[in-house]
């Protein structure tokens, strides 16, 4: 999906996350609970595999699955599944998007009944549901075999500390930069390769034409900020063991980022208005901003929202902190997760896997919903990468973002209280950026608010 304002989770090895209450992960969980945090990490989940015979039997038994998703027209992908497994009927329910969806999901899970079997879930939301032990580990259902089908970092995002597989990736949003080639050309600006170049270009452009800015950094878009943190190599959150969380949102890397963007905002050479508002859409249409720092879903989104600028845009990787080691972060995209309360775990798990890994279904997500793929075969498919986008002057935009996707680091993690982190960011760092105040100092406020919250929620908080 396009973007969400939550934040979620991730990574694999190092993080032996909260096993939470993971009752299901029977033996291993009990052992490690006794032993108190093993140092290990990567070992496969200890849940016992379900036999192929059981899976076959379950897939032939008439079953109705409920699937909560906000993806439009997903019936078409679901139909592929129902065609392959005629005994299984999938009821698609749109329970709202983003926060609304999660709120209803949380409520249903808490109530103990009424939750769906399978739910749409953004990467960053996963830890907020594993902390309450609400997701089913898909290892016993053969999900491990899909590891190599999916882009490495996405697998990191859906994996738990003990090798659990909490969800199956559906689409992604590796971050890149869309820019107005015409504005760049007019002012003699080369697409910046580094953030230093970018800052110089921002000053140059605004000086040459005070009506326009090189870019806009929205003080309400915590998701973009997290993506930029990800690119810069920050590790703001880590969870280890049950209830241990480390919060480090004001480390050196974060401070570098805040000083950079806060500085540009204070100089007045970038815009700082909220994004996805009427004014922001007008600004993109009218050429107030010469770039949009966005993600892989951005090109299609922009082509639909700024029609009057067709043909003028181009895509490029994000500017780099270290040009010799290109990297990027992720913003957006989502997964399918199986809710632990499901009465049909096998059918639900097979559905989540089929929906996202079946080549025809995965391809359909790209062609119908314009999702940016999460599977390697599709990202290497010439019919995908070779598509020339007229909105981008015929550039092979898919190829550009497929290449960027390879530079996303796989070990960024999300906190188990993402919504709080997002809100607190908006009220501290986001507000400082918008009001051109000291963004570095605001990082400390963010850190302290989050720490206070986590402690009040019973976490053992480790701060640097």
């Amino acid at each position: 999906m396009r973007r969400s304002n939550s934040t979620p989770s991730q990574s694999q090895m190092s993080r032996r996350l909260l096993l939470t209450t993971a009752g299901a992960v029977s033996l291993g969980a009990a052992l490690s609970a006794c032993g108190g945090g093993d140092g290990g990490g990567t070992s496969a989940s200890s849940a016992k595999p379900v036999s192929q015979a059981d899976i076959d039997a379950a897939m032939k038994k008439p079953t109705e699955l409920t699937f909560w998703t906000w993806v439009p027209d997903i019936d078409q992908e679901v139909a592929l599944f129902e065609k392959k497994y005629p005994a299984i009927k999938v009821k698609v329910v749109n329970a709202g998007q983003g926060v609304q969806h999660y709120t209803k999901l949380r409520t249903a899970i808490k109530a103990g009944s009424g939750a769906p079997d399978v739910a749409q879930m953004e990467y960053q939301a996963i830890p907020t549901f594993t902390i309450t032990d609400s997701l089913l580990d898909l290892n016993p259902f053969g999900a491990g075999k899909l590891k190599d089908t999916f882009v490495d970092w996405t697998w990191g995002q859906v994996s738990g500390p003990k090798g659990e597989i909490w969800a199956i990736p559906q689409d992604t949003g590796p971050m890149g930069m869309l820019y107005r080639a015409d504005i760049f050309e007019k002012h003699g600006i080369e697409p910046p390769k580094t953030w230093d170049d970018f800052a110089a270009a921002a000053r140059k452009l605004h000086k040459a034409d005070p009506e326009i800015y090189l870019t806009n950094l929205a003080g309400n878009e915590a998701a973009a900020w997290h993506g930029l943190l990800w690119q810069a190599g920050a590790k703001p959150y880590a969870t280890s063991g049950k209830g241990n969380v480390s919060i480090d949102v004001d480390d050196t890397i974060s401070k570098k980022l805040a000083a950079y963007w806060g500085g540009l905002a204070q100089e007045g050479v970038i815009g700082v208005e909220p994004d996805f508002t009427d004014a922001w859409f007008s600004a993109l249409n009218k050429g107030k901003y010469a770039t949009w720092i966005t993600a892989a879903w951005g090109p299609v989104f922009l082509a639909g929202s700024a029609k009057s600028t067709a043909g003028k845009w181009r895509a490029a990787p994000l500017p780099q902190w270290d040009a010799s080691k290109p990297s990027s972060g992720n913003w957006g995209g989502s997964t399918s997760a199986v809710i632990k309360q499901t009465k049909n775990p096998i059918a639900a798990a097979v559905f989540a896997q089929f929906l996202n890994s079946d080549p025809a279904s995965a391809k359909l997500f790209n062609t119908k919903q314009s999702f940016f793929p999460a599977t390697k075969p599709l990202l290497e498919d010439p019919s995908f990468t070779g598509a020339a986008a007229s909105f981008y002057g015929g550039q092979k935009v898919n190829q550009a973002f497929a290449d960027i996707g390879k530079t996303v680091s796989p070990d960024f993690q999300w906190p188990p209280f993402l919504d709080q982190a997002v809100t607190d960011w908006t009220e501290t760092v986001g507000t400082a950026l918008t009001r051109k105040k000291d963004a570095v100092a605001a990082l400390d406020a963010w850190q302290s608010r989050l720490t206070t919250y986590a402690k009040a929620q019973g976490f053992t908080v480790k701060t640097p």
Binding site: R106, N220, A279, Q420, G458, F459
Partner: protein
């Protein structure tokens, strides 16, 4: 009676029950007695939110009711041309869902491409920043006034229509003009209706939620999640997962509203008896 219990008291009772516990993400649920209420009393964010809506009440409500009263009297005077059209015109904003109204005003207020901004630019005037810190409460008051003047006007107008014709005749016999009739007959007759609109307004002001919530995306640095008390309760429950504390905050807010409403009634009644 059963329906009453089920529909009204049960949810209240459940919220009250919830407010006595504290559930944490780690460590589960525990009974904490009135702890949540003690926290709420000391919570600077809650106090700030309540003070803000109180300010809002003091500024917006008199303005709105005076306007509503003026329109109702004007319509009732029978001196207006096109009275029906005007009556409908003033009432129509009430029929617009507040969500739509706020989105529309959010666009009108826009500092870059909003019509007001463009107009002042054309005239060479400074662009008003309706969505900035200093203006925001006024901008919200404007939206709420626009939405509810018509509603209050209809209540007052309906009350005026029930004044017995004989009173007017008697006043005319005594030589009272239009203004005198308005002052001595219509206004006293409106007192119960005015009190009613005032009470509705107390509740509406203190529960201010839709408008700030919807303007939040366009002014995230001005409207934080504790901007009004109701918004604070909402974000506690749905952002922070602090359902219990949120229930306590809601009850606290309810108490504030009861006290305020009572104060309004008390003052009004004392005037009547004096």
């Amino acid at each position: 009676m059963v329906l009453f219990l089920l529909m009204f008291l049960a949810p209240l009772g459940y919220a009250a029950y919830l407010s006595l516990f504290r559930e944490k993400l780690i460590g589960g649920n525990a009974f904490v007695g009135l702890d949540n209420y003690v926290t709420a009393l000391k919570d600077p964010l809650l106090r700030q939110g309540v003070l803000r809506v109180a300010t809002f009440f003091v500024i917006q409500v008199p303005l709105m009711l005076l306007l509503a009263l003026a329109f109702a009297l004007a319509l009732d005077s029978g001196l207006l041309r096109l009275a029906r059209v005007i009556r409908l015109g003033i009432f129509v904003p009430y029929a617009v869902p507040s969500v739509v109204a706020t989105l529309m005003w959010g666009y009108l207020y826009g500092p870059d491409f909003g019509p007001f901004a463009q107009l002042s630019e054309k005239l060479g005037l400074p662009v008003p920043h309706f969505l900035s810190d200093g203006w925001m409460l006024g901008s919200l008051a404007n939206i709420v006034t626009w939405e509810f003047v018509g509603y209050n006007m209809i209540i007052l107008y309906a009350a005026l229509r029930t004044v017995p014709q004989e009173l007017y005749e008697a006043a005319a016999m005594d030589g009272a003009g239009a203004w005198r009739t308005a002052w001595s007959i219509k206004l006293p007759a409106l007192r119960p209706a005015l009190l009613l609109t005032l009470l509705f307004s107390v509740i509406g002001s203190f529960q201010l939620f839709n408008e700030p919530k919807l303007l939040q995306p366009v002014a995230p640095d001005v409207i934080d999640n504790a901007y009004t008390a109701n918004l604070y309760a909402y974000s506690l429950a749905f952002t922070g997962q602090q359902v219990n504390y949120s229930a306590a905050v809601s009850f606290f807010l309810g108490l504030v509203i009861v006290i305020f409403s009572y104060a309004v009634l008390f003052i009004a009644n004392r005037r009547r008896t004096s």
